[in-house]
């Protein structure tokens, strides 16, 4: 079948929602790909005329290239946003988006036959190959005189998608001297030798199918436009199809598919190699880059993103977990693009990372601790803080006379203590403390032989042994090829082996990736694909999962596996084998093959990626540098008073790992850390006994179970708990009643509840006495105490629509104001991983006093009371924006929960932001005695789901007065998270309430 030539036309603008007629123009050029005298006409989307009509001065141009089978219509939202920004007086960016030849409304070339991969990119084909398309784009930019504009100070950046990513990046590689930066959405500039091409393309490329699926029918176009999630509106989808209504119009669609250089002998393979080399050169030249990526794309898999990141190491990357191939339709990209352009202009993109200062000096300004938090460690504060020794932990912990250890490796330039220093000091040969216990693992460590253990025997490890293990593993990892900066996924449960592996990874300068198994298989898989570890250290269950889910990374097992299992799980080596091979009692620290001590990583280097719990959307990777973890360890020492020589019994994941850095004996109890309620009183006492524990760290859920099983304890068990002097509980608020019960069980301990999150593990602290004191306080929410040393808390007041203001107030001026809690501290996260725009939004870089502080938006809302204490009142996205102002849910919920007939409740908003109606959803309590059967009530005496009975509604309204409650609804069960059974799924409740209050059937939330 042959295809006739057809002229370029202006598209039917009345059938293109979101398009401005001013944007469409035709441009005729002579492309170097054609013989002299042959000209081609392109349909070009260009906001230049619209900007000129507004009379604004154009600052720069965004050259946007579409892929296959889209066309310039793809870029309409970015075109709209750039024009709007210019109209509002912001920086004026002109967008130029050509339709490629044979595509969109550009000229159709005559074709003698259907496209075939064998001839593409050669003289035997009359279809445009990659090299010709690069020439075409150059002809267009020349005709538009972009080189001249750039010479006159005009900025030029490119953006592309799919094949347009290849063409735009190829053009960028050829014209690096004109460029200010490059952006790309899902694309691929390199097809690795031997790697299979993505399944959907294999089908499209298969022989006769190609012409049939791409040209003869509109299958390829239809499949592409069906990939949007959520689905495109009918009108928008129809607009995408406008240029491709008949086979004559679709030659280019097949041409592009045939042009995929799937093999090295493909005619366009050399051109693709030129493109990929050009991208690498841009990366080497530090050209600013932005990669926005829809992770759920069947064609552009993560390996293509990895390839791009390798070529553009300084690129800002935002990987949208739940978006796909048509990312620009799935997500609003105008925010990220405009923000990146703004940073480009301020020169903040030239350094890697987040666009904000990479490392923070320890702040001069220090928070004057509130008496309630200082009472515990007044001596520490005096001896350290007042002496101004913040950065110098000293080689000797206060009150102890520790001789300097021999054979110390070079310390870092800052002179601060590093995470492994204490371990290497006490674990050194001849060290006085070498044989003291560093770690007790109550679960027993994995056996080197596959024996089913009948009874778990605690394993105790001395500082000397642990140091030797860590040094040996780090040496072994180096020998296996692990290098500083490499990411290493840790699929090992807490205990001796995880601790040893973690410190080896840290010391080596590799980056530990830690995702809690509580995320589930899907969540873990997402986390692994976004963090893209190069290596995995795992025990058999973790490695089996990694294999089943095709997680990336070369595998190491913990114990040495049999040959069959090694081969099945694709395991390279084992940690135990490394320890056997490289253990050396005369050496401290890891060495390379020549026996040279491996260098110590710098403080600004990445140390770990910790994943959030994922309770609000996909889990986010949080990056910590060595410097920031060092600050965290210092805070735990100073503020919580866990000094070297303490013994820390940790049933709470992140803190269980910090024992060696703190110089504290760490004890991991026999429990499943992902299920806190598996910690029993007896298990606790046994662990405390084995480790002579003085400090207990556990979540409220774990403590609740300990209290519930306290009957198990004999006298000896109680005596062990009497030795504990400090109980720390974090992860969720600790109710006053639980605080009292814990105090009774552990009578000599102070009970504290620090507040924090993955992005800032230790922010404020409150003790049991203060919690009791505040039981009858009038403040709404849960009091989390005062900020610990070096932490600054500020409030971003809420706006009418429930979002937070840009301006933030310090604790004094923000007194009593409801707002988003914003924090700053040296031990906060460095940034989010592969979530550049989320990171941008999470940061605020200006406030009172400036001083280069970086502020993190916690997404929690609350207020500060007259004593400077912070009260948390819910999550930002759960704020109800009523016409009378924003309402945070936790305060009113607590008042309603206190009512007799209420078991629990959710306060939600329905209706548009700024004028929402406040609705209370109640899960009613069963009456103590079963009442008579009543109309509108269930058998158990609770009201039927639906509208609450009048008396209940009246009680609820009175409980939260003067808040105006529009409706009180009853449901049988309020949905909560599986993990804690306490976090209410307010979003789901709000959807249910909206449905019921619109007159829908009641049903279940």
């Amino acid at each position: 079948m042959s295809i006739p030539a057809a002229a370029a036309t202006i598209p039917p603008i009345d059938r293109m929602p979101g398009w401005d007629p001013q944007w469409s123009r035709l441009l005729t050029v002579q492309s170097p790909a054609d013989p002299a005298g042959t000209v081609r006409t392109f349909h070009i989307a260009d906001t230049g005329p619209a900007l000129a009509a507004m009379g604004v001065e154009v600052h720069g141009t965004i050259l946007a290239v579409h892929g296959n089978p889209t066309w310039s219509y793809l870029w309409r939202s970015l075109m709209r946003a750039t024009v709007d920004q210019a109209r509002a007086g912001g920086t004026a960016w002109r967008m130029i988006a050509p339709d490629q030849l044979d595509m969109g409304f550009s000229e159709r070339l005559p074709h003698a036959q259907m496209p075939r991969p064998e001839t593409m990119g050669t003289a035997d084909s009359d279809y445009r190959g990659l090299a010709a398309r690069l020439d075409d784009l150059t002809a267009i930019t020349d005709a538009l005189e972009l080189p001249g504009l750039v010479a006159a100070g005009h900025r030029l950046v490119t953006i592309g998608h799919d094949w347009g990513g290849v063409v735009s990046l190829g053009w960028a590689g050829r014209h690096a001297e004109l460029l200010s930066g490059v952006m790309t959405l899902n694309t691929a500039v390199h097809q690795p030798e031997g790697a299979p091409i993505p399944v959907p393309l294999q089908a499209a490329l298969a022989g006769p199918l190609l012409a049939n699926s791409t040209v003869a029918t509109d299958a390829f176009v239809s499949v592409t436009t069906s990939l949007a999630s959520p689905q495109l509106s009918r009108a928008v989808r129809a607009a995408y199809h406008l240029p491709y209504t008949s086979a004559d119009r679709r030659g280019g669609v097949g041409g592009f598919v045939a042009d995929i250089p799937a093999t090295a002998d493909h005619g366009s393979h050399p051109a693709l190699q030129e493109v990929s080399a050009g991208v690498s050169a841009l990366g080497a030249a530090d050209v600013p880059a932005l990669i926005l990526w829809g992770a759920d794309d069947p064609v552009f898999l993560d390996r293509y993103l990895d390839d791009l990141r390798d070529r553009l190491p300084a690129a800002r990357v935002h990987r949208y977990e739940e978006a796909g191939h048509l990312l620009v339709e799935d997500r609003d990209l105008t925010g990220p693009v405009l923000t990146w352009l703004e940073l480009l202009d301020t020169g903040m993109l030239s350094s890697p990372g987040s666009g904000l200062p990479v490392s923070l000096p320890e702040p001069e300004l220090r928070y004057e601790a509130h008496p309630s938090t200082t009472s515990l460690h007044l001596e520490d504060l005096e001896s350290h803080v007042s002496a101004g020794e913040e950065d110098d932990d000293g080689t000797a912990p206060s009150g102890q006379d520790v001789p300097a250890a021999p054979a110390q490796p070079a310390s870092s330039s800052s002179g601060r203590r590093r995470l492994w220093d204490q371990l290497e000091e006490w674990g050194a040969p001849e060290a006085y403390n070498r044989d003291a216990t560093a770690l007790v693992d109550m679960t027993g460590a994995a056996s080197s032989r596959a024996i089913v253990r009948r009874k778990r025997r605690p394993v105790a490890v001395s500082w000397g042994e642990l140091q030797e293990m860590v040094s040996a593993i780090a040496t072994g990892l180096w020998a296996a090829g692990v290098r500083p900066g490499d990411r290493v996924s840790m699929l090992v449960p807490p205990g001796r082996d995880l601790t040893a592996a973690l410190y080896a990874v840290l010391r080596l300068g590799a980056v530990a990736v830690v995702a809690d198994q509580g995320l589930g298989i899907k969540g873990m898989t997402r986390a692994m694909k976004s963090a893209r570890p190069k290596w995995i250290i795992g025990q058999t269950p973790g490695l089996t999962l990694a294999r089943a889910q095709s997680w990336p990374g070369t595998r190491f097992s913990v114990a040495t596996l049999g040959a069959a299992q090694r081969s099945l799980l694709n395991v390279e080596d084992s940690l135990y084998a490394m320890v056997e091979r490289h253990r050396d009692p005369h050496r401290v620290g890891p060495v390379d093959e020549q026996g040279q001590m491996l260098p110590v990583p710098e403080e600004h280097q990445e140390a770990a990626v910790l994943f959030t719990s994922g309770s609000t959307g996909p889990a986010k990777g949080v990056v910590y540098t060595h410097g920031r973890l060092g600050h965290l360890v210092r805070r735990i020492r100073r503020t919580l008073g866990i000094e070297p020589g303490s013994s820390l019994l940790a049933g709470f994941a992140p803190f269980a790992l910090l024992g060696p850095a703190l110089g504290a004996t760490s004890v991991s109890p026999d429990m499943d850390v992902t299920k806190p309620a598996t910690l029993t009183a007896r298990g606790l006492a046994e662990a405390a006994e084995a480790g002579q524990s003085t400090v207990l760290f556990a979540s409220p859920a774990a403590l609740r179970n300990v209290v519930a099983t306290a009957d198990e304890l004999d006298e000896a068990g109680h005596a062990v708990l009497d030795r504990i002097r400090l109980v720390l509980s974090a992860g969720a608020p600790v109710p006053p009643s639980l605080m009292r019960q814990v105090t009774a069980l552990v009578p000599n301990a102070q009970v504290h509840s620090p507040y924090g999150m993955t992005e800032g593990l230790l922010l404020t602290d409150i003790d049991a006495d203060t919690v009791q004191e505040l039981v009858h306080a009038k403040d709404a929410g849960v009091c989390v105490g005062t900020p610990i040393e070096t932490v600054e808390v500020a409030i971003a007041p809420l706006l009418e629509d429930g979002s937070a203001e840009e301006v933030i107030l310090d604790r004094e001026s923000g007194w009593g104001v409801l707002g988003e809690v914003v924090v700053s501290a040296p031990h906060l996260k460095e940034r989010y991983d592969a979530l550049w725009y989320t990171d941008q939004q999470s940061k605020r870089d200006s406030l009172f006093g400036g001083g280069g502080r970086v502020w993190h938006r916690t997404n929690d809302v609350g207020h500060v009371d007259a004593e400077g204490r912070l009260w948390i009142e819910g999550r930002l996205q759960h704020v109800v924006s009523t016409p009378h102002g924003p309402v945070a849910p936790v305060g009113p919920e607590a008042a309603i929960d206190a009512l007799g007939p209420v078991d629990r409740c959710a306060v939600v908003g329905v209706g548009p932001a700024g004028t929402q109606a406040l609705v209370v959803c109640v899960e009613a309590a069963k009456p103590a005695t079963r009442p008579e059967k009543r109309a509108g009530h269930l058998r158990d005496g609770r009201p039927k789901p639906g509208l609450a009975p009048a008396e209940l509604a009246t009680q609820v309204r009175a409980a939260v007065a003067p808040l105006a409650v529009s409706a009180v609804l009853v449901t049988e069960a309020i949905p909560t998270d599986i993990r804690h059974n306490s976090k209410i799924d307010r979003a789901r409740m709000a959807r249910w309430a909206e449905h019921v209050l619109a007159g829908g059937k009641v049903g279940h939330p």
Partner: protein, 354 residues
């Protein structure tokens, strides 16, 4: 009867600030025998304006100059317009059923006559009382503002003709003739016979149903708040005109809760009759048709001369209807002074005294 309600209001609240007009007005209030028109006339008088009323029956407003006649009679309208500078056009045929021509005559032609006569008489401002039903076609309304009136989409003859009337009034808006349209939503209060007394009477007779779950969220407006909103609109029309504002108490409530509490305030037992919303809507449609043809002698069946249920009413009572009040409050500089809870107390006092 209705007078007593407002006497209570005036005693309780005193003359509100909004009544103090910058200059003495001569105001024509059409439809002053109804509760809203009567309240507006009395409040205007209390604030020092001269008041002319136009309706077929005596207005019963002491101190007002009654012109007897229909808004559908151009001569009567012209007579009432003599010397007037402000018109508050309340008169309308308000019903959930009835013949299209009757609605046309009052709500469309009547409005046309009022507008023309006002312009001829050099009136400078007009507050046109409309209805939220002019802009919405049956589906639920969740926190929306006032959309444009749309006779083609409006449901039923009342909404259709009120929509046409509002368009006539607003299209007459000009720099010399300011027109502001108010759309009060579901007015209730002591002395209100349209909604409040019907709920009470039907609940007393055990015939007041709750449709569906009764949870549909609806906005309502306490009558006295409506009166104050109209007076605020007279002032506001000087600076803002040519648009429509939905007026409510800004306290959306589940319709089942409101009906129950109004019934109880009127001394009736809480309604127990429950109808699935879909059934009610279909039943309403049947009743409506039967009513129009007076099948089975239906029109004798109810005390108030209205059908027991219509499709429109069933829809109103089973889907949400609540509004964004921010623009209304901004323009009118008005806040409802009587909350739903206070209003219910007044209703209870009113029925207790009867």
């Amino acid at each position: 009867m209705s007078r007593m309600g407002f006497e209570v209001e005036l005693d309780a609240l005193g003359t509100p600030q909004v009544f103090e007009q910058p200059e003495a007005h001569r105001v024509l209030v059409t439809g002053a025998s109804g509760i809203l028109g009567q309240g507006v006339a009395r409040a205007l008088l209390a604030s020092g304006s001269e008041v002319v009323t136009l309706q077929r029956r005596p207005s019963g407003v002491e101190g007002a100059e009654d012109v007897r006649g229909s808004v559908a009679d151009p001569e009567a309208v012209a007579r009432a317009m003599d010397g007037v500078d402000t018109v508050v056009h309340v008169a309308a045929k308000v019903s959930v059923s009835g013949r299209e021509e009757e609605f046309e005559l009052v709500n469309v032609a009547g409005t046309q006559y009022v507008v023309e006569a006002a312009r001829d008489a050099g009136v400078s401002r007009m507050v046109h009382i409309s209805s939220p039903s002019v802009a919405h076609a049956g589906s639920s309304i969740v926190g929306e503002g006032a959309g444009p009136a749309d006779p083609a989409a409006a449901r039923g003859p009342y909404a259709r003709t009120k929509a046409a009337g509002e368009l006539i009034a607003l299209s007459a808006d000009s720099p010399s003739f300011h027109v502001l349209a108010l759309r009060p939503h579901l007015m209730w209060g002591p002395g209100d016979m349209q909604l409040t007394d019907r709920i009470v009477q039907r609940a007393r007779a055990g015939r007041m149903p709750v449709l569906g779950s009764g949870a549909a969220l609806v906005d309502t407006l306490y009558t006295w708040n409506a009166v104050e909103a109209v007076l605020a609109a007279v002032t506001a029309a000087d600076h803002t005109h040519g648009e429509s504002l939905v007026v409510t108490n800004g306290e959306p409530r589940p319709v089942g809760e409101l009906i129950t509490r109004i019934a109880m305030a009127g001394g009736a037992a809480p309604p127990r009759l429950r109808l699935p919303a879909g059934v009610a809507r279909r039943a309403g449609a049947l009743v409506e048709r039967a009513w129009e043809r007076n099948l089975f002698g239906m029109r004798r069946a109810t005390a108030d001369g209205e059908p027991p249920l219509t499709e429109f009413l069933a829809e109103q009572l089973s889907t949400s209807h609540w509004f964004d009040q921010r623009r209304t409050r901004e323009v009118l500089d008005w806040r409802p002074r009587v909350s739903i809870d206070e209003g219910l107390e007044r209703v209870a006092e009113h029925y207790a005294e009867r």
